[in-house]
């Protein structure tokens, strides 16, 4: 991976030093372990980890970062490696710090509606614990059964319920961060609100491991809804589905999920045994709240769906569970359609969704490159999965060309090049189009101030 910066390789003396910090059993250079630590979910971006370490405390992380800063060795924090943008792959080599041994839920406060966790806690494990107290942490990424809270905070992840409940950034109120210098800092407060100067918590959330290592995270929580209802709105064409989305989102029903799936996605789900059916497109809908609110809300969404000439069906029980499982599995199921996939994640204002959807298909058809589209349409987020269709360079170039054009369209629509998957490695070339040169310089300045040796997850987020 090209970069103007030069980094040190991990030598035996470095391994000895790392063993001294975390213990001899908690440093590995085995080829298999390195391959795992170099991988992502879906993304073909592979890193080249030279060592993996498993610390158990902020103090140990501090020792690792201080040492690596001094030696100029790249450091990549890693949760479950479920990123689809290469965020957790050590593309510049160096040391991977796994959070698998920092996985304790330290506190759940019902009174304050807060949880304090270590970064390696799995999203669903946290929610299983919170459920006992009638609480939940809402963002719900599709990969919630494996995503770590540290990874979610690093990536500002979200998912099905962002349309109603917002994204991870909205819930992080306090962070303990180990800076590249080894210094451990506390950012933010536990207060429900604050007006205390620059909001460094919001800066660090979504920084993709480029500014520091989150060793303790305080999250706001919500009371668990009493009930949820699911319905499916089948449309004859993508336009009919996307044109229903504004009214669904604007409805007093306040849907807790609005998931778009195109015809090819529906066929894939049917072929994979999930209880969907063929249509031009579909919206998988959810409402929540009290029993009455969830029920009435879904009735309102049904009315909106039908008013656009679409077909609606309520879904419950095993079918409901299977439909959501199918939706969660889509990111991986797409592998059945193509040996290589480029996972797009554009986000546009909801008013531009019909235009964006139409442009995506027009571009794909025009370039003769296959694609499927699904995503959290309620918050404008479309996962455009480009089917590379072959393993040769030409096929990849064609797919990347299409990807670039789709991203340009998203920016043209006033949207974001990444809604929830982060920038990682792949989207860096589009950062200037997204932010402009001046804003990028501010970002580089921040990076240089916090991480003067640029050891934290180099090769990610910021273009060279």
């Amino acid at each position: 991976m090209a970069s103007a910066r030069r980094y040190s390789r991990v030598e035996e003396a470095d391994l000895e030093a790392l063993r001294g910090i975390v213990g001899p059993d908690n440093v590995s250079t085995r080829d298999w372990e390195l391959e795992i630590a170099s991988s992502n979910a879906v993304s073909e971006i592979e890193g080249a980890a030279e060592a993996v370490v498993w610390p158990t405390s902020a103090d140990q992380v501090s020792g690792i970062l201080r040492y690596c800063s001094r030696r100029g060795i790249p450091v990549t924090p890693r949760g479950s490696g479920s990123s689809t943008s290469g965020n957790a792959s050590p593309v510049m080599g160096g040391v991977v710090i796994s959070t698998r041994r920092m996985n304790r839920i330290l506190e759940v406060s019902r009174e304050d509606l807060l949880a304090v966790v270590e970064p390696g806690v799995i999203y669903e494990d946290l929610n299983a614990r919170l459920r006992e107290q009638g609480l939940f942490f809402p963002p719900e990424p599709a990969s919630g059964s494996v995503s770590t809270i540290g990874g979610m905070v690093g990536n500002n992840s979200s998912g099905f319920r962002a349309v109603k409940y917002g994204v991870t950034r909205d819930y992080v109120t306090e962070l303990e961060v180990v800076l590249p210098s080894g210094e451990i800092v506390r950012l933010g407060t536990r207060a429900p609100k604050s007006s205390i100067g620059y909001d460094l918590v919001r800066l660090f959330v979504g920084s993709e491991g480029t500014l520091g290592f989150f060793s303790k995270i305080t999250l706001k929580l919500r009371p668990l809804p009493e009930a949820r209802r699911t319905g499916i709105c089948y449309a004859a064409t993508p336009e009919r589905a996307s044109s229903a989305i504004f009214e669904i989102v604007a409805s007093p029903a306040r849907p807790s999920a609005v998931e778009y799936m195109d015809s090819r996605v529906l066929r894939l789900l049917v072929d994979s045994g999930y209880p969907y059916r063929d249509a031009g497109a579909a919206l998988l809908l959810e409402t929540d709240g009290t029993e009455k609110a969830a029920e009435e809300g879904m009735s309102r969404l049904e009315a909106v769906c039908r008013s656009k000439g679409n077909e609606f069906g309520p879904v419950e029980g095993a079918e409901e569970e299977a439909m959501w499982k199918g939706r969660r599995s889509l990111g991986a199921l797409v592998a059945k359609l193509s040996p290589a996939v480029i996972v797009g994640d554009v986000d546009v204002p909801v008013s531009r969704l019909p235009w964006m959807v139409e442009e995506i298909y027009r571009l794909g058809d025009g370039m003769g490159v296959g694609l499927v589209v699904f995503g959290h349409a309620g918050d404008g987020n479309l996962h455009v999965n480009i089917l590379v269709g072959g393993t040769d360079d030409a096929a990849h170039r064609r797919a990347m060309d299409l990807y670039s054009k789709i991203i340009e369209k998203a920016v043209e629509a006033g949207g974001a090049i990444a809604g929830e998957h982060g920038i990682g490695f792949e989207k860096r070339p589009f950062m200037e189009a997204q932010h402009g040169r001046a804003a990028l310089e501010i970002m580089r300045g921040i990076k240089g101030a916090v991480d003067p040796t640029w050891i934290m997850n180099p090769g990610k987020l910021l273009p060279d």
Binding site: W32, E35, I36, V42, S143, G331, A332
Partner: protein, 419 residues
């Protein structure tokens, strides 16, 4: 082994393809999403902080091997001991969007490594477990005496855990009338035949209460231990024979199993290994709980409280909801579910090389079960779980769910309509 780097990996990949055919190819599609880790009972134990010990780690190993990436020493003791975190329960396949058959890949790995490096004595003993179960059924006194000696140094010498306990053989066999050409086939596995005759008897009683006339087949082996140990060539041979015999006997009739291991092997594993004949047979495999939910109704009388332990195989087979549904219908208040794995995993946890992992799982299970009131009734459909739960929860009454349903029938809490 004096392989050149890469040579061993390439040989292993060839061997896996030869053993598994197209079932191996899907592994190359692995997107590395890690959903399998969330389902795998061993991937969250403390010592599995090394990702090579997790389900996803195994998927990445096989993906790498089958796509030409090399691991320098894939057959080393270190790699093998990490692969041994797999207990072959198949929960990973349920969670995997692509249904990558990790247990088959692990089984193939174990067979190929066994060919290169030899096998331990525990594997040689367990390989003949069907013969041992038959011995247990035919001469229970001799079997029980021998089993009682298998502790301490003797167990260690044979590659088993030192504190090994083996299930005792029952002194009686299931006593069941069989209707040749009846409505359903009732498959009795060798384990319950030898050790827990009341389990097939309970299923038989429920079937007859529904007006069905079971043709009883067995005792027969389902092959789960061969899969777990990685005797894949033999498993394919045995599986083909069983599928042929049972297919001929069934002639399109539903086939009701007693053990969830039978369900797992006939419904999920053999179709992947053996193709069309096994797929046709799989379509007829069912359990008594589904039939009961269709044909019986509860009378509303209270049967008391039950705690349900969902075994790994029940999770893998998707049987749990049916079982809980049937228990509730029969008036049992299912007060909670023990979801943690009991740590035995069939015969997996008996071996010395997996004893430490098994103990980690037991610790987590005991923590979950710590609030269980004394005298609780705990239902689990897996025979290995029942054996383990009786050891771990000596103050609980551990039962086969069909046995509870049989009691409900006799106590008038279930009414079953004749078709």
């Amino acid at each position: 082994m004096d392989h050149e780097p890469g040579e061993a990996a390439a040989g292993l990949a060839r061997g896996i393809r030869e053993l598994l055919g197209e079932a191996a190819d899907v592994a190359a599609l692995c997107m590395r999403c890690g959903f399998c880790n969330a389902a795998c009972p061993t991937s969250a134990v403390p010592s599995a902080y090394l990702e090579s010990r997790t389900s996803r780690g195994r998927a990445i190993l096989f993906r790498g091997l089958l796509t030409g990436r090399t691991v320098d020493e894939p057959l080393s003791d270190e790699v093998a001991s990490d692969v041994d975190y797999c207990m072959s329960c198949g929960r990973c396949m349920n969670a995997c969007p692509l249904e990558i058959p990790i247990p088959l890949l692990v089984g193939a790995y174990r067979e190929l490594r066994g060919r290169e490096r030899g096998r331990g004595p525990a594997e040689a003993v367990l390989r003949r477990y069907e013969a041992l179960d038959r011995l247990a059924g035919e001469v229970p006194g001799i079997y029980n005496a021998a089993a009682g000696l298998m502790r301490g140094a003797a167990a260690r010498a044979l590659g088993f855990r030192e504190d090994l306990e083996l299930p005792r053989a029952s002194r009686r066999r299931p006593n069941l009338r069989s209707w040749e050409g009846g409505d359903v086939l009732l498959l009795i596995d060798t384990y319950t035949w030898a050790h827990e005759p009341e389990a097939p008897e309970a299923v038989w009683r429920l079937l007859t209460a529904m007006g069905l006339r079971p043709e009883v087949v067995g005792p027969l082996d389902h092959g789960m231990v061969l899969l777990d140990l990685g005797y894949m060539s033999r498993l394919k041979e045995e599986g083909a024979r069983l599928v042929g015999e049972i297919g001929n006997a069934a002639r399109g009739r539903p086939i009701v199993i007693v053990s969830p291991a039978s369900y797992y092997m006939f419904r999920r594993i053999y179709p992947l290994l053996l193709g069309d004949a096994a797929r046709r047979l799989a379509a007829g495999i069912t359990d008594v709980y589904g039939l009961l939910m269709e044909r019986c109704r509860g009378t509303g009388r209270d049967g008391g409280g039950v705690v349900y332990h969902e075994s790994c195989l029940a999770k893998s087979n998707g049987q749990g909801d049916r079982i809980v549904g049937a228990l509730r219908m029969a008036g049992y208040g299912v007060q909670g579910t023990l979801r943690r794995c009991c740590g035995l995993g069939g015969a997996w946890g008996l071996r010395r090389n997996t004893a430490g992992i098994s103990d980690e799982m037991v610790n987590e299970f005991l923590e979950e079960a710590s609030g269980l009131p004394e005298g609780s009734t705990v239902a689990s459909e897996s025979e290995a779980c029942r054996f383990q739960l009786r050891r771990l929860l000596p103050r609980a009454a551990v039962v086969y769910p069909a046995e509870l349903l049989r009691r409900a029938l006799e106590e008038g809490r279930l009414h079953c309509a004749h078709p």
